[in-house]
Amino acid sequence: MEAIRNALDFSDFPRLDLIVAGSVGIAFIIFPLFPHSSFAMSTMIQFLMFSLYGMGWNTIGGYGGQVDLGKAQYVGIGAYTTAVMLILWDVPFWVSMPIGMFFSVVWSFIIGYPLFRLKGHYFAIATIATSLVLKDLFEVWDFVGAARGLEISPIKYHPPDFLRLIFREDVYYFYVILGFFFLGVLYMNWFRKSRLGFQLRSIKDNEDVARSLGINVHWAKVKTYAIATAFVSMVGSFHACYIKSIEPEDTMSLDISILIALMAMLGGAGSLWGPIIGAGILIPLKSYLKEWLGAQVGLVGIDLIIYALIIMVISAFEPRGVWGIVEKFRRRKRN
């Protein structure tokens, strides 16, 4: 009960934040009622998925300050678990998703335990290495379709199938992921005020002081890594049902990992709204750039060039992200 009350308690935010957040939330709920293109709908779903990924990353990367660039491996574990179980044994999504999360968390303990002996750059590159190892393994593993990947054929099922999450219209997917999204926000709101959340922030500020205060630094990091992993794996399972065809190159590539970290940083790592703002800026931008410049003008790669330039400008000039600018502005106003 206490935890639920804490999760619903947003009272430490300024009223303006809450009004904006509430109206944006309502806008999401009623969005499908208005006329929209299927492109807008899929962008919306992508946005919600990536803000959930970003929230997961934010626990370890934002609050904990451990730059993790290997999140894509858990997208892959979640997606593959759901897809394999659905195709081979007809296991519903709501069963395979927790199983996928379980596998991801187990894997995160296996690699997280040695990984968190490293710090900074070393940690970041080691996470990339583990992610690439897993991707290479999946690319030759025949059981999961090797490099061809897996395909969930919707013909076998009768949409709308709420158990297996097979739908013909995107609206259903939208509401499912929107539900996850709201739960994710509530969870993050609880997390940042939890014991672990405070421990992590002190680890980020100064690890030695945190240790001297009696915090088990290594264990706190490993635990948070598992939480981040569970988030990412959950959305990965959804990804498998939504996209319906998964292959190692799409789900587990380094680009996904970087995109996840980048969004959280662009919005403002270590804040509740940061990943959502970041995803809200980057995902529409990315899909529109791809749609207009890549496909219509016919310049291959120009969308990614612009995207790369944005990354470079942000990281060079405003590394604390959009939320950092907002807070700076507020502090100036107060003084």
Partner: protein
Amino acid sequence: MLNVSIMDILVGSLFAGLLIGMVLALVALGLTIIFGVMDIVNFAHGEFLMIGMYTGLLTAQGLGIDPLFTLPVAGVVGFLLGVICYFGFIKFLLRGPMVAQLLGTFGLMLFLRNLALLIFGSEDRALHHGILVGKSFEIGMGVIVSATKLTCAGLSVVAFLAVWLLMNRTKIGKALTATSLDAQGARYMGVPTQKMNALAWGIGGASVTIAGALIVNFWSVNPFIGLLFTMIAFAIVALGGFGSVPGAFFAGLVVGMITELPGFWDFFTYTFEADWMVDIPMTSFKYMWVYLAYFVIMVVRPRGLFGWKQ
């Protein structure tokens, strides 16, 4: 007779590993210098290599000269590229937190890769002419070494030695080392650390583009080739110790051997006549071992073999 052919496989793999290792060591050299001097991990390293490969290829084809004579051009291009990147971009990154540095150089990597994609297109390109291309000779015991690889390995060692001499026997090298040991202290002693940082990027860029111009002699190039070499270079630098020049050389040889693991695997399969070993598709795991080696090295000995930075 069977015995001889088994030995052929072993010696051939050893040789191939050593030769490719020497070139890979040159690839990693730039990364280790940059990391040593200013504690920044350059994700765009493989992209510098890709640019070096294109420079070598296009100069050779455009001017109709032998690919081996394009090395100075590639070196100049790499040096300028490194210095421009430093003053135009990296300088600003250094003020920010570590996550900004990581993502920033990743942005640089995406930028260079897609610029290359826009300009050169996505198809594989390879060199088909030159004095050495396609020539090979036997060095005894039935081992055949291609002349390009041998020359490239030799030239890599020369380039490596040149950088090593620069770092250890000249005043500039001393200033670079001083900057990497303690930037603030070096600044108080009158070392222009900004220039030293730029120089580190210049040397790093030049050595990796030269490596690229060498590699293009036996490896086809496309805009996406960078990441593989970035990861290999990370593995080498981790094994040798971040910031250590001799470490990069020896670790390069080791990682070269690791990339030749499929050959050794064949050798053991034949020697022990182990049938189960035949079924494992080692060639598809070729680079996975490099990543795995990186992971294991980092966890077991984060300083690497010769490293002094913690």
